[in-house]
Protein backbone atom coordinates (compact mmCIF):
# COMPACT_ATOMS: atom_id res chain seq x y z
CA UNK A 1 0.00 0.00 0.00
CA UNK A 2 1.39 3.39 -1.01
CA UNK A 3 1.68 5.71 1.95
CA UNK A 4 0.24 8.99 0.64
CA UNK A 5 1.18 10.69 3.91
CA UNK A 6 4.91 10.29 3.36
CA UNK A 7 6.77 13.21 1.75
CA UNK A 8 9.68 12.87 -0.68
CA UNK A 9 12.83 14.91 -0.67
CA UNK A 10 12.99 17.80 -3.11
CA UNK A 11 15.44 20.66 -3.51
CA UNK A 12 15.28 24.33 -4.29
CA UNK A 13 16.90 25.08 -7.63
CA UNK A 14 16.09 28.76 -7.67
CA UNK A 15 14.32 31.25 -5.43
CA UNK A 16 12.74 34.38 -6.87
CA UNK A 17 11.55 37.27 -4.72
CA UNK A 18 8.33 38.47 -6.37
CA UNK A 19 7.33 41.15 -3.84
CA UNK A 20 8.27 41.94 -0.24
CA UNK A 21 6.13 39.03 1.00
CA UNK A 22 5.77 36.82 -2.07
CA UNK A 23 8.41 34.50 -3.47
CA UNK A 24 8.63 31.67 -5.96
CA UNK A 25 10.49 28.43 -5.36
CA UNK A 26 11.64 26.51 -8.44
CA UNK A 27 11.95 22.90 -7.36
CA UNK A 28 12.89 19.39 -8.38
CA UNK A 29 12.98 15.97 -6.74
CA UNK A 30 16.43 14.94 -5.59
CA UNK A 31 15.66 11.51 -7.05
CA UNK A 32 15.65 11.90 -10.86
CA UNK A 33 13.39 8.86 -11.29
CA UNK A 34 10.75 10.39 -9.03
CA UNK A 35 11.12 13.68 -10.84
CA UNK A 36 10.59 12.04 -14.21
CA UNK A 37 7.42 10.36 -12.96
CA UNK A 38 5.92 13.55 -11.53
CA UNK A 39 2.83 14.80 -13.42
CA UNK A 40 0.28 17.44 -12.48
CA UNK A 41 -2.52 19.58 -13.89
CA UNK A 42 -2.74 23.35 -13.46
CA UNK A 43 -4.83 24.06 -10.37
CA UNK A 44 -3.58 21.06 -8.42
CA UNK A 45 -1.49 21.57 -5.30
CA UNK A 46 1.38 19.96 -3.43
CA UNK A 47 1.95 19.61 0.29
CA UNK A 48 5.32 21.25 0.99
CA UNK A 49 7.10 20.15 4.15
CA UNK A 50 9.65 22.35 5.90
CA UNK A 51 11.93 20.28 8.08
CA UNK A 52 10.81 20.33 11.71
CA UNK A 53 8.09 22.91 11.13
CA UNK A 54 5.31 21.27 9.15
CA UNK A 55 3.37 20.99 5.94
CA UNK A 56 1.38 23.49 3.94
CA UNK A 57 -0.74 23.12 0.77
CA UNK A 58 0.54 25.28 -2.11
CA UNK A 59 -0.73 25.32 -5.68
CA UNK A 60 1.63 24.60 -8.54
CA UNK A 61 2.16 27.55 -10.87
CA UNK A 62 4.44 26.16 -13.54
CA UNK A 63 3.54 24.59 -16.85
CA UNK A 64 2.67 20.88 -16.65
CA UNK A 65 4.90 20.18 -19.62
CA UNK A 66 8.00 21.71 -18.06
CA UNK A 67 9.93 18.56 -17.34
CA UNK A 68 12.85 20.23 -15.61
CA UNK A 69 11.29 22.04 -12.65
CA UNK A 70 8.01 22.79 -10.94
CA UNK A 71 7.29 26.12 -9.32
CA UNK A 72 5.39 27.29 -6.26
CA UNK A 73 4.59 30.94 -5.63
CA UNK A 74 4.06 31.51 -1.95
CA UNK A 75 3.01 34.38 0.27
CA UNK A 76 4.43 34.59 3.78
CA UNK A 77 1.38 34.18 6.01
CA UNK A 78 2.37 31.75 8.75
CA UNK A 79 5.05 29.67 10.38
CA UNK A 80 5.67 27.27 7.51
CA UNK A 81 5.54 29.83 4.70
CA UNK A 82 7.86 32.15 6.63
CA UNK A 83 10.37 29.33 6.90
CA UNK A 84 9.93 28.36 3.25
CA UNK A 85 10.68 31.97 2.40
CA UNK A 86 14.10 31.65 3.97
CA UNK A 87 15.17 28.73 1.82
CA UNK A 88 17.94 29.22 -0.72
CA UNK A 89 19.08 27.35 -3.79
CA UNK A 90 20.19 23.78 -2.94
CA UNK A 91 18.21 23.69 0.32
CA UNK A 92 16.17 20.52 0.82
CA UNK A 93 12.54 20.17 1.82
CA UNK A 94 9.78 17.59 1.58
CA UNK A 95 6.91 17.33 -0.83
CA UNK A 96 3.95 15.08 -1.53
CA UNK A 97 1.41 15.48 -4.27
CA UNK A 98 -0.04 16.50 -6.58
CA UNK A 99 -3.47 16.52 -5.00
CA UNK A 100 -6.96 17.57 -5.93
CA UNK A 101 -8.74 18.45 -9.11
CA UNK A 102 -7.35 21.20 -11.31
CA UNK A 103 -8.87 23.58 -13.84
CA UNK A 104 -11.07 22.25 -16.69
CA UNK A 105 -8.57 23.13 -19.41
CA UNK A 106 -9.61 20.44 -21.89
CA UNK A 107 -13.23 21.52 -21.49
CA UNK A 108 -12.16 25.14 -22.06
CA UNK A 109 -10.69 24.46 -25.50
CA UNK A 110 -12.58 26.38 -28.19
CA UNK A 111 -13.96 28.80 -25.61
CA UNK A 112 -13.23 32.33 -24.50
CA UNK A 113 -11.20 31.90 -21.32
CA UNK A 114 -11.76 34.44 -18.60
CA UNK A 115 -9.51 34.43 -15.57
CA UNK A 116 -10.63 36.47 -12.59
CA UNK A 117 -8.46 36.71 -9.53
CA UNK A 118 -8.13 38.68 -6.35
CA UNK A 119 -5.05 39.05 -4.20
CA UNK A 120 -2.71 36.08 -4.34
CA UNK A 121 -5.60 34.28 -5.98
CA UNK A 122 -3.41 34.88 -9.02
CA UNK A 123 -1.04 32.06 -8.06
CA UNK A 124 -3.29 29.10 -8.88
CA UNK A 125 -4.38 30.67 -12.17
CA UNK A 126 -1.13 32.11 -13.47
CA UNK A 127 -0.37 28.57 -14.58
CA UNK A 128 -3.62 28.66 -16.55
CA UNK A 129 -2.68 31.95 -18.20
CA UNK A 130 0.69 30.56 -19.25
CA UNK A 131 -0.91 27.30 -20.31
CA UNK A 132 -3.38 29.10 -22.58
CA UNK A 133 -0.75 31.41 -24.04
CA UNK A 134 1.54 28.52 -24.92
CA UNK A 135 -1.36 26.73 -26.65
CA UNK A 136 -2.96 29.89 -27.99
CA UNK A 137 -4.66 28.39 -31.04
CA UNK A 138 -6.73 25.98 -28.94
CA UNK A 139 -8.60 28.80 -27.23
CA UNK A 140 -10.54 31.89 -28.32
CA UNK A 141 -10.28 35.15 -26.41
CA UNK A 142 -8.24 35.34 -23.23
CA UNK A 143 -9.44 37.77 -20.60
CA UNK A 144 -7.33 38.34 -17.51
CA UNK A 145 -8.87 40.23 -14.62
CA UNK A 146 -6.76 40.78 -11.52
CA UNK A 147 -7.70 42.75 -8.44
CA UNK A 148 -5.35 43.59 -5.58
CA UNK A 149 -5.80 45.58 -2.39
CA UNK A 150 -2.79 47.78 -2.97
CA UNK A 151 -1.02 48.40 -6.24
CA UNK A 152 2.23 47.25 -4.60
CA UNK A 153 0.68 43.78 -4.20
CA UNK A 154 0.62 43.16 -7.93
CA UNK A 155 3.32 40.68 -8.74
CA UNK A 156 4.41 39.78 -12.28
CA UNK A 157 3.58 43.40 -13.17
CA UNK A 158 5.54 43.41 -16.39
CA UNK A 159 3.84 40.19 -17.44
CA UNK A 160 0.42 41.84 -17.26
CA UNK A 161 1.66 44.53 -19.65
CA UNK A 162 3.06 41.89 -21.98
CA UNK A 163 -0.09 39.82 -21.87
CA UNK A 164 -2.20 42.87 -22.73
CA UNK A 165 -0.28 43.21 -26.01
CA UNK A 166 -1.10 39.70 -27.18
CA UNK A 167 -3.77 39.19 -29.82
CA UNK A 168 -7.31 38.45 -28.65
CA UNK A 169 -6.23 39.12 -25.10
CA UNK A 170 -7.69 41.62 -22.70
CA UNK A 171 -6.07 42.52 -19.40
CA UNK A 172 -7.99 44.39 -16.73
CA UNK A 173 -6.20 45.14 -13.49
CA UNK A 174 -7.49 47.03 -10.49
CA UNK A 175 -6.17 48.05 -7.09
CA UNK A 176 -8.31 49.30 -4.20
CA UNK A 177 -5.44 51.64 -3.37
CA UNK A 178 -2.99 52.72 -6.05
CA UNK A 179 0.18 54.74 -5.91
CA UNK A 180 1.18 57.39 -8.47
CA UNK A 181 1.80 56.11 -12.00
CA UNK A 182 -0.48 53.10 -11.47
CA UNK A 183 -1.63 52.56 -15.03
CA UNK A 184 -4.72 50.54 -14.23
CA UNK A 185 -8.05 51.00 -12.49
CA UNK A 186 -8.39 52.24 -8.91
CA UNK A 187 -11.23 50.37 -7.29
CA UNK A 188 -12.51 46.83 -7.44
CA UNK A 189 -11.79 44.50 -10.30
CA UNK A 190 -15.45 43.58 -10.45
CA UNK A 191 -16.18 47.19 -11.49
CA UNK A 192 -14.50 46.45 -14.81
CA UNK A 193 -16.97 43.86 -16.06
CA UNK A 194 -18.64 46.32 -18.42
CA UNK A 195 -15.38 46.62 -20.34
CA UNK A 196 -15.02 42.90 -20.88
CA UNK A 197 -15.51 41.69 -24.43
CA UNK A 198 -16.45 38.04 -24.49
CA UNK A 199 -19.12 35.65 -25.65
CA UNK A 200 -21.10 34.53 -22.59
CA UNK A 201 -22.42 31.48 -24.42
CA UNK A 202 -18.90 30.33 -25.31
CA UNK A 203 -16.89 31.30 -22.24
CA UNK A 204 -15.13 29.30 -19.58
CA UNK A 205 -14.53 31.27 -16.40
CA UNK A 206 -11.84 30.39 -13.87
CA UNK A 207 -11.59 32.41 -10.72
CA UNK A 208 -9.76 32.46 -7.49
CA UNK A 209 -9.63 34.86 -4.59
CA UNK A 210 -11.67 36.18 -1.68
CA UNK A 211 -15.17 34.74 -1.47
CA UNK A 212 -16.78 38.20 -1.57
CA UNK A 213 -15.05 39.04 -4.84
CA UNK A 214 -16.05 35.69 -6.32
CA UNK A 215 -19.66 36.22 -5.23
CA UNK A 216 -19.89 39.59 -7.04
CA UNK A 217 -18.22 38.12 -10.12
CA UNK A 218 -20.50 35.07 -10.21
CA UNK A 219 -23.62 37.22 -9.93
CA UNK A 220 -22.47 39.40 -12.79
CA UNK A 221 -21.54 36.46 -15.02
CA UNK A 222 -24.84 34.70 -14.40
CA UNK A 223 -26.65 37.93 -15.35
CA UNK A 224 -24.64 38.03 -18.56
CA UNK A 225 -25.86 34.53 -19.35
CA UNK A 226 -22.85 32.36 -18.47
CA UNK A 227 -24.08 28.98 -17.25
CA UNK A 228 -23.25 27.70 -13.76
CA UNK A 229 -21.19 24.80 -15.04
CA UNK A 230 -18.95 27.16 -17.07
CA UNK A 231 -17.92 29.14 -14.01
CA UNK A 232 -15.13 27.51 -12.02
CA UNK A 233 -13.67 28.62 -8.74
CA UNK A 234 -10.77 27.49 -6.64
CA UNK A 235 -11.72 27.18 -2.98
CA UNK A 236 -9.45 27.58 0.00
CA UNK A 237 -9.95 25.68 3.22
CA UNK A 238 -7.78 24.42 6.05
CA UNK A 239 -6.01 21.24 4.95
CA UNK A 240 -3.81 18.85 6.88
CA UNK A 241 -3.84 15.50 5.10
CA UNK A 242 -4.72 16.45 1.47
CA UNK A 243 -6.17 12.98 0.89
CA UNK A 244 -9.72 13.42 2.20
CA UNK A 245 -9.14 11.91 5.63
CA UNK A 246 -8.52 14.66 8.19
CA UNK A 247 -11.85 16.47 7.70
CA UNK A 248 -10.56 20.02 7.98
CA UNK A 249 -11.44 21.08 4.45
CA UNK A 250 -14.99 19.78 4.51
CA UNK A 251 -17.39 21.84 2.42
CA UNK A 252 -20.80 20.24 2.89
CA UNK A 253 -20.44 16.77 1.42
CA UNK A 254 -17.17 17.58 -0.33
CA UNK A 255 -13.54 17.51 0.68
CA UNK A 256 -11.89 20.54 -0.90
CA UNK A 257 -8.54 18.71 -1.03
CA UNK A 258 -9.89 15.85 -3.13
CA UNK A 259 -13.15 16.96 -4.78
CA UNK A 260 -11.60 20.41 -5.39
CA UNK A 261 -9.91 22.77 -4.93
CA UNK A 262 -11.49 23.68 -8.28
CA UNK A 263 -15.29 23.40 -8.32
CA UNK A 264 -17.80 24.45 -10.90
CA UNK A 265 -20.17 27.04 -9.53
CA UNK A 266 -22.97 24.50 -10.04
CA UNK A 267 -21.23 22.22 -7.53
CA UNK A 268 -20.27 24.95 -5.07
CA UNK A 269 -23.57 26.88 -5.23
CA UNK A 270 -25.64 25.18 -2.49
CA UNK A 271 -23.32 26.45 0.26
CA UNK A 272 -21.42 29.18 -1.57
CA UNK A 273 -21.18 32.34 0.49
CA UNK A 274 -23.02 30.86 3.48
CA UNK A 275 -21.01 31.81 6.53
CA UNK A 276 -19.63 28.79 8.35
CA UNK A 277 -19.21 26.38 5.43
Amino acid sequence: MVNAALPHEIEVVERIQESPTIFTLRLRFTDPVQHAAFRFEPGQFNMLYLYGVGEVPISIVSDPEDEKLFDHTIRVVGRVTRGLGQLKARDRLGMRGPYGRGWPLKQAEGHDVMIITGGLGCAPVVSVINYVIRRRDRFRRLIIMQGVKHSDDLIWRSQYSQWSKLRDTQVLVAADVGVALWPWHIGRVTELFDQVEFDPSQAMIMMCGPQGMMRVAVDHLLRRGVTEDHIHLSMERNMHCAVGHCGHCQYGGKFVCQDGPVFSYAEARPLFGIQGF
Partner: protein
Protein backbone atom coordinates in the same frame (compact mmCIF):
# COMPACT_ATOMS: atom_id res chain seq x y z
CA UNK B 1 -23.44 -20.09 10.98
CA UNK B 2 -24.94 -20.94 14.36
CA UNK B 3 -22.43 -22.95 16.34
CA UNK B 4 -24.16 -23.79 19.60
CA UNK B 5 -24.58 -22.95 23.25
CA UNK B 6 -21.69 -22.04 25.52
CA UNK B 7 -22.47 -22.21 29.26
CA UNK B 8 -21.27 -19.10 31.10
CA UNK B 9 -18.85 -21.19 33.15
CA UNK B 10 -17.03 -21.94 29.87
CA UNK B 11 -16.62 -18.39 28.57
CA UNK B 12 -12.93 -18.59 29.50
CA UNK B 13 -12.61 -21.20 26.74
CA UNK B 14 -13.36 -18.46 24.21
CA UNK B 15 -10.55 -16.26 25.57
CA UNK B 16 -8.20 -19.25 25.65
CA UNK B 17 -8.97 -20.16 22.04
CA UNK B 18 -8.31 -16.58 20.96
CA UNK B 19 -5.07 -16.49 22.93
CA UNK B 20 -3.97 -19.73 21.28
CA UNK B 21 -4.69 -18.19 17.88
CA UNK B 22 -2.30 -15.36 18.79
CA UNK B 23 -4.75 -12.63 19.73
CA UNK B 24 -4.53 -10.17 22.56
CA UNK B 25 -8.07 -9.97 23.92
CA UNK B 26 -9.63 -6.75 25.05
CA UNK B 27 -12.99 -6.76 26.74
CA UNK B 28 -15.28 -4.64 28.85
CA UNK B 29 -14.10 -3.85 32.36
CA UNK B 30 -14.94 -1.24 34.93
CA UNK B 31 -12.34 1.53 35.16
CA UNK B 32 -12.94 4.84 36.93
CA UNK B 33 -16.68 4.34 37.05
CA UNK B 34 -17.12 3.53 33.39
CA UNK B 35 -17.12 0.47 31.13
CA UNK B 36 -13.97 0.51 29.01
CA UNK B 37 -12.21 -2.01 26.81
CA UNK B 38 -8.99 -3.19 28.37
CA UNK B 39 -6.75 -6.24 28.08
CA UNK B 40 -8.75 -9.24 29.17
CA UNK B 41 -7.06 -12.51 30.10
CA UNK B 42 -9.56 -13.84 32.63
CA UNK B 43 -13.31 -13.98 32.12
CA UNK B 44 -13.62 -13.17 35.80
CA UNK B 45 -12.60 -9.57 35.05
CA UNK B 46 -15.76 -9.04 32.98
CA UNK B 47 -18.28 -6.65 34.58
CA UNK B 48 -20.75 -9.14 35.99
CA UNK B 49 -24.14 -7.67 36.85
CA UNK B 50 -22.96 -4.16 36.04
CA UNK B 51 -25.40 -1.98 34.20
CA UNK B 52 -25.29 1.62 33.08
CA UNK B 53 -27.75 4.41 33.68
CA UNK B 54 -27.36 6.98 30.96
CA UNK B 55 -29.18 10.20 30.28
CA UNK B 56 -28.36 13.59 28.78
CA UNK B 57 -25.08 14.56 30.43
CA UNK B 58 -25.19 11.49 32.68
CA UNK B 59 -23.46 8.15 32.89
CA UNK B 60 -23.54 6.02 36.04
CA UNK B 61 -22.78 2.38 36.69
CA UNK B 62 -24.72 0.27 39.14
CA UNK B 63 -24.47 -3.34 40.21
CA UNK B 64 -27.35 -5.77 40.00
CA UNK B 65 -27.74 -9.42 40.92
CA UNK B 66 -27.74 -10.42 37.24
CA UNK B 67 -25.16 -13.07 36.36
CA UNK B 68 -24.65 -11.48 32.94
CA UNK B 69 -21.42 -9.89 31.76
CA UNK B 70 -22.86 -7.72 29.02
CA UNK B 71 -25.92 -6.16 30.64
CA UNK B 72 -24.82 -2.64 29.73
CA UNK B 73 -25.30 -0.55 26.58
CA UNK B 74 -21.95 1.09 25.90
CA UNK B 75 -19.15 3.02 27.55
CA UNK B 76 -17.54 6.23 26.34
CA UNK B 77 -15.16 4.35 24.08
CA UNK B 78 -16.13 2.65 20.84
CA UNK B 79 -13.99 0.53 18.52
CA UNK B 80 -12.57 3.71 17.00
CA UNK B 81 -9.40 4.04 19.11
CA UNK B 82 -8.30 0.49 18.21
CA UNK B 83 -8.06 1.39 14.52
CA UNK B 84 -7.85 5.14 14.25
CA UNK B 85 -5.42 5.89 17.06
CA UNK B 86 -6.09 9.00 19.18
CA UNK B 87 -2.45 9.96 18.65
CA UNK B 88 0.16 8.40 16.46
CA UNK B 89 3.45 9.23 14.84
CA UNK B 90 3.14 8.73 11.07
CA UNK B 91 6.66 9.35 9.83
CA UNK B 92 10.00 10.69 10.80
CA UNK B 93 12.30 13.08 8.98
CA UNK B 94 16.04 13.01 9.63
CA UNK B 95 18.36 15.71 8.40
CA UNK B 96 22.08 15.13 8.06
CA UNK B 97 24.90 17.65 8.41
CA UNK B 98 24.74 18.46 4.69
CA UNK B 99 21.03 19.27 4.86
CA UNK B 100 19.75 16.13 3.13
CA UNK B 101 16.40 14.95 4.52
CA UNK B 102 15.46 11.29 4.78
CA UNK B 103 11.84 10.29 5.38
CA UNK B 104 10.83 7.02 6.97
CA UNK B 105 7.31 5.82 7.70
CA UNK B 106 6.49 4.59 11.19
CA UNK B 107 3.87 1.87 10.95
CA UNK B 108 1.98 0.49 13.95
CA UNK B 109 3.05 -2.93 15.23
CA UNK B 110 0.89 -5.53 13.53
CA UNK B 111 -0.85 -6.66 16.70
CA UNK B 112 -3.53 -9.35 16.49
CA UNK B 113 -6.35 -7.91 18.54
CA UNK B 114 -9.68 -9.50 19.51
CA UNK B 115 -12.40 -7.26 20.89
CA UNK B 116 -14.95 -9.00 23.10
CA UNK B 117 -18.38 -7.41 23.38
CA UNK B 118 -18.63 -5.18 20.32
CA UNK B 119 -22.12 -3.74 19.87
CA UNK B 120 -24.10 -3.53 16.64
CA UNK B 121 -23.91 0.29 16.68
CA UNK B 122 -20.13 0.15 16.88
CA UNK B 123 -19.87 -2.43 14.11
CA UNK B 124 -21.96 -0.10 11.93
CA UNK B 125 -19.61 2.73 12.84
CA UNK B 126 -16.64 0.54 11.97
CA UNK B 127 -18.07 -0.02 8.49
CA UNK B 128 -18.24 3.75 8.08
CA UNK B 129 -14.68 4.23 9.28
CA UNK B 130 -13.60 1.49 6.86
CA UNK B 131 -15.30 3.42 4.06
CA UNK B 132 -13.58 6.62 5.08
CA UNK B 133 -10.07 5.37 5.75
CA UNK B 134 -9.78 2.43 3.36
CA UNK B 135 -12.13 2.74 0.42
CA UNK B 136 -11.43 6.20 -0.98
CA UNK B 137 -8.80 7.15 -3.54
CA UNK B 138 -6.07 6.97 -0.87
CA UNK B 139 -6.19 4.16 1.67
CA UNK B 140 -4.77 4.96 5.07
CA UNK B 141 -2.00 2.43 5.76
CA UNK B 142 -2.01 3.04 9.53
CA UNK B 143 -5.69 2.21 9.86
CA UNK B 144 -5.31 -0.67 7.40
CA UNK B 145 -2.50 -2.27 9.42
CA UNK B 146 -4.70 -2.43 12.50
CA UNK B 147 -7.88 -3.37 10.69
CA UNK B 148 -6.29 -6.38 9.01
CA UNK B 149 -5.63 -8.05 12.36
CA UNK B 150 -8.85 -7.26 14.16
CA UNK B 151 -11.08 -10.06 15.40
CA UNK B 152 -14.56 -9.06 16.51
CA UNK B 153 -16.71 -10.86 19.05
CA UNK B 154 -20.06 -9.08 18.97
CA UNK B 155 -22.62 -9.38 21.73
CA UNK B 156 -26.14 -8.54 20.62
CA UNK B 157 -27.42 -5.72 22.79
CA UNK B 158 -30.25 -6.49 25.18
CA UNK B 159 -29.75 -3.58 27.56
CA UNK B 160 -30.11 -0.31 25.64
CA UNK B 161 -29.54 2.82 27.69
CA UNK B 162 -32.08 5.62 27.78
CA UNK B 163 -29.76 7.47 25.38
CA UNK B 164 -29.75 4.70 22.75
CA UNK B 165 -31.59 4.97 19.43
CA UNK B 166 -29.93 2.42 17.15
CA UNK B 167 -33.33 0.94 16.23
CA UNK B 168 -34.27 4.22 14.51
CA UNK B 169 -31.01 4.43 12.56
CA UNK B 170 -31.31 0.79 11.51
CA UNK B 171 -27.98 -0.20 13.08
CA UNK B 172 -29.06 -2.35 16.03
CA UNK B 173 -29.66 -3.72 18.54
CA UNK B 174 -28.74 -7.05 16.86
CA UNK B 175 -25.40 -7.28 15.08
CA UNK B 176 -26.06 -8.58 11.58
CA UNK B 177 -22.71 -8.35 9.82
CA UNK B 178 -18.97 -7.74 10.09
CA UNK B 179 -18.32 -9.87 13.15
CA UNK B 180 -16.23 -13.00 13.46
CA UNK B 181 -18.33 -14.35 16.30
CA UNK B 182 -21.61 -13.06 17.70
CA UNK B 183 -23.07 -13.96 21.08
CA UNK B 184 -26.60 -13.82 22.43
CA UNK B 185 -26.26 -13.53 26.17
CA UNK B 186 -28.77 -15.48 28.24
CA UNK B 187 -28.84 -15.89 32.01
CA UNK B 188 -26.94 -19.16 31.87
CA UNK B 189 -24.69 -18.73 28.86
CA UNK B 190 -24.32 -17.75 25.24
CA UNK B 191 -25.74 -18.66 21.87
CA UNK B 192 -22.63 -18.66 19.72
CA UNK B 193 -22.68 -17.81 16.05
CA UNK B 194 -19.67 -17.64 13.73
CA UNK B 195 -19.62 -14.90 11.11
CA UNK B 196 -16.36 -15.63 9.31
CA UNK B 197 -13.92 -18.45 8.63
CA UNK B 198 -11.66 -17.18 11.41
CA UNK B 199 -14.69 -17.14 13.68
CA UNK B 200 -15.53 -20.73 12.80
CA UNK B 201 -11.98 -21.77 13.59
CA UNK B 202 -12.42 -20.39 17.08
CA UNK B 203 -15.96 -21.68 17.70
CA UNK B 204 -14.82 -25.16 16.63
CA UNK B 205 -12.58 -25.18 19.70
CA UNK B 206 -15.37 -24.36 22.17
CA UNK B 207 -17.24 -26.93 24.29
CA UNK B 208 -20.58 -26.10 22.69
CA UNK B 209 -23.89 -27.80 23.37
CA UNK B 210 -26.76 -27.84 20.88
CA UNK B 211 -29.07 -24.86 21.25
CA UNK B 212 -32.74 -25.30 22.10
CA UNK B 213 -35.83 -23.64 20.63
CA UNK B 214 -36.48 -22.11 24.03
CA UNK B 215 -33.03 -20.48 24.15
CA UNK B 216 -33.41 -19.11 20.64
CA UNK B 217 -36.86 -17.86 21.51
CA UNK B 218 -35.61 -15.98 24.57
CA UNK B 219 -32.76 -14.40 22.59
CA UNK B 220 -35.11 -13.27 19.85
CA UNK B 221 -37.58 -11.89 22.34
CA UNK B 222 -34.88 -9.96 24.22
CA UNK B 223 -33.61 -8.40 21.00
CA UNK B 224 -37.09 -7.26 20.06
CA UNK B 225 -37.62 -5.95 23.56
CA UNK B 226 -34.31 -4.03 23.36
CA UNK B 227 -35.53 -2.26 20.24
CA UNK B 228 -38.92 -1.57 21.75
CA UNK B 229 -37.45 -0.06 24.93
CA UNK B 230 -35.65 2.67 23.00
CA UNK B 231 -37.52 5.90 23.62
CA UNK B 232 -35.35 8.16 21.52
CA UNK B 233 -35.13 8.19 17.76
CA UNK B 234 -34.13 10.25 14.79
CA UNK B 235 -37.11 11.58 12.86
CA UNK B 236 -35.80 10.15 9.57
CA UNK B 237 -32.81 8.24 8.30
CA UNK B 238 -32.08 10.95 5.75
CA UNK B 239 -32.26 14.48 7.11
CA UNK B 240 -29.96 16.03 4.53
CA UNK B 241 -32.47 18.11 2.60
CA UNK B 242 -34.40 19.31 5.60
CA UNK B 243 -31.29 20.32 7.56
CA UNK B 244 -29.73 22.22 4.67
CA UNK B 245 -33.08 23.92 4.01
CA UNK B 246 -33.00 25.18 7.60
CA UNK B 247 -29.53 26.67 7.95
CA UNK B 248 -31.00 29.85 9.44
CA UNK B 249 -33.34 28.08 11.86
CA UNK B 250 -33.41 29.88 15.25
CA UNK B 251 -32.70 26.57 16.99
CA UNK B 252 -29.02 26.78 15.93
CA UNK B 253 -28.68 29.89 18.05
CA UNK B 254 -30.57 28.21 20.86
CA UNK B 255 -28.29 25.15 20.91
CA UNK B 256 -25.22 27.40 20.63
CA UNK B 257 -26.24 29.09 23.87
CA UNK B 258 -26.01 25.71 25.64
CA UNK B 259 -23.11 24.10 23.72
CA UNK B 260 -19.67 24.59 25.31
CA UNK B 261 -17.86 23.80 22.04
CA UNK B 262 -15.86 21.28 24.10
CA UNK B 263 -15.78 18.58 21.43
CA UNK B 264 -16.75 15.71 23.78
CA UNK B 265 -19.44 14.61 21.33
CA UNK B 266 -16.86 14.24 18.59
CA UNK B 267 -14.41 12.40 20.84
CA UNK B 268 -16.96 9.75 21.86
CA UNK B 269 -18.62 9.54 18.45
CA UNK B 270 -17.62 6.25 16.82
CA UNK B 271 -17.74 7.72 13.30
CA UNK B 272 -16.08 11.14 13.72
CA UNK B 273 -12.80 10.98 11.82
CA UNK B 274 -11.33 14.49 12.03
CA UNK B 275 -7.72 14.74 13.02
CA UNK B 276 -4.93 17.27 12.93
CA UNK B 277 -1.30 16.81 12.01
CA UNK B 278 1.70 18.43 13.62
CA UNK B 279 5.45 18.11 13.79
CA UNK B 280 7.64 17.69 16.83
CA UNK B 281 11.37 18.18 16.49
CA UNK B 282 13.94 16.44 18.68
CA UNK B 283 15.72 18.78 21.06
CA UNK B 284 19.03 18.07 19.35
CA UNK B 285 17.38 18.76 15.98
CA UNK B 286 18.55 15.37 14.69
CA UNK B 287 15.06 14.36 13.60
CA UNK B 288 11.48 15.50 13.51
CA UNK B 289 8.34 13.43 13.90
CA UNK B 290 5.11 14.04 12.05
CA UNK B 291 2.13 12.95 14.15
CA UNK B 292 -1.61 13.05 13.94
CA UNK B 293 -4.10 13.47 16.72
CA UNK B 294 -7.90 13.41 16.93
CA UNK B 295 -9.34 16.84 16.30
CA UNK B 296 -12.82 18.24 16.52
CA UNK B 297 -14.85 20.58 14.31
CA UNK B 298 -15.77 22.35 17.55
CA UNK B 299 -12.28 23.82 17.97
CA UNK B 300 -11.35 27.23 16.65
CA UNK B 301 -8.31 25.93 14.81
CA UNK B 302 -10.28 23.33 12.87
CA UNK B 303 -11.47 25.76 10.19
CA UNK B 304 -8.62 28.27 10.40
CA UNK B 305 -7.03 29.45 7.20
CA UNK B 306 -4.43 32.20 7.12
CA UNK B 307 -6.02 35.15 8.81
CA UNK B 308 -9.58 33.88 9.21
CA UNK B 309 -11.68 31.19 10.83
CA UNK B 310 -14.45 29.81 8.66
CA UNK B 311 -16.51 28.80 11.70
CA UNK B 312 -15.81 31.53 14.22
CA UNK B 313 -18.61 30.81 16.68
CA UNK B 314 -20.35 27.89 18.36
CA UNK B 315 -23.51 28.27 16.31
CA UNK B 316 -21.59 27.60 13.12
CA UNK B 317 -19.64 24.75 14.67
CA UNK B 318 -22.67 22.89 16.01
CA UNK B 319 -24.39 23.46 12.67
CA UNK B 320 -21.36 22.08 10.85
CA UNK B 321 -21.31 18.99 13.06
CA UNK B 322 -25.01 18.20 12.82
CA UNK B 323 -25.44 19.01 9.12
CA UNK B 324 -22.42 16.86 8.37
CA UNK B 325 -23.26 13.97 10.66
CA UNK B 326 -26.91 13.70 9.66
CA UNK B 327 -26.83 15.51 6.31
CA UNK B 328 -23.83 15.72 4.03
CA UNK B 329 -22.57 12.34 5.25
CA UNK B 330 -25.18 10.94 2.85
CA UNK B 331 -23.31 12.56 -0.06
CA UNK B 332 -19.97 11.22 1.10
CA UNK B 333 -20.84 7.73 2.30
CA UNK B 334 -24.37 7.02 1.16
CA UNK B 335 -25.84 7.04 4.64
CA UNK B 336 -26.09 9.06 7.83
CA UNK B 337 -22.99 9.32 9.98
CA UNK B 338 -25.03 8.53 13.09
CA UNK B 339 -25.38 4.93 14.27
CA UNK B 340 -27.62 5.67 17.25
CA UNK B 341 -25.15 4.83 20.03
CA UNK B 342 -26.23 7.88 22.01
CA UNK B 343 -22.77 8.59 23.40
CA UNK B 344 -22.86 12.24 22.32
CA UNK B 345 -25.97 12.67 24.49
CA UNK B 346 -24.55 11.03 27.60
CA UNK B 347 -21.08 12.55 27.40
CA UNK B 348 -22.16 16.09 26.55
CA UNK B 349 -21.45 18.04 29.74
CA UNK B 350 -24.64 20.03 29.28
CA UNK B 351 -26.78 17.18 28.01
CA UNK B 352 -27.46 18.34 24.45
CA UNK B 353 -29.47 15.61 22.75
CA UNK B 354 -28.82 15.05 19.03
CA UNK B 355 -32.25 13.50 18.54
CA UNK B 356 -33.95 16.49 20.14
CA UNK B 357 -31.96 18.99 18.08
CA UNK B 358 -32.55 17.03 14.88
CA UNK B 359 -36.25 17.00 15.62
CA UNK B 360 -36.33 20.72 16.44
CA UNK B 361 -34.48 21.70 13.27
CA UNK B 362 -35.46 18.90 10.94
CA UNK B 363 -39.14 18.83 11.79
CA UNK B 364 -41.16 15.95 13.07
CA UNK B 365 -42.50 17.81 16.10
CA UNK B 366 -41.03 17.12 19.51
CA UNK B 367 -39.30 19.66 21.68
CA UNK B 368 -38.30 23.19 20.85
Amino acid sequence: MEAGFLPRAWIQALLDALHRAGYRCVGPQVRDGAIVYDTLDRAGALPQGVRDRQGPGQYRLETTASPRYFSWANGPQALKPFLFAPHEVMWRAERDARGAIRFSEIMPAAEMLAVIGARACDLAALRLQDRHFLQGKFADPYYAARRKNLFLVAVHCTHPADTCFCASTGDGPRATQDFDIALDELDDGYLVQAGSDQGSMITAQLPLAPTTDAQRGIAEQEAQEAARRQTRGLPSRNLRDVLFANLEHPRWENVAERCLSCGNCTAVCPTCFCHGERDVTALDNSHSEHARQWDSCFTQGHSYIHGMTIRADTRMRYRQWLTHKLGSWHDQYGRSGCVGCGRCIAWCPVGIDITEEARAIGGGGGHG
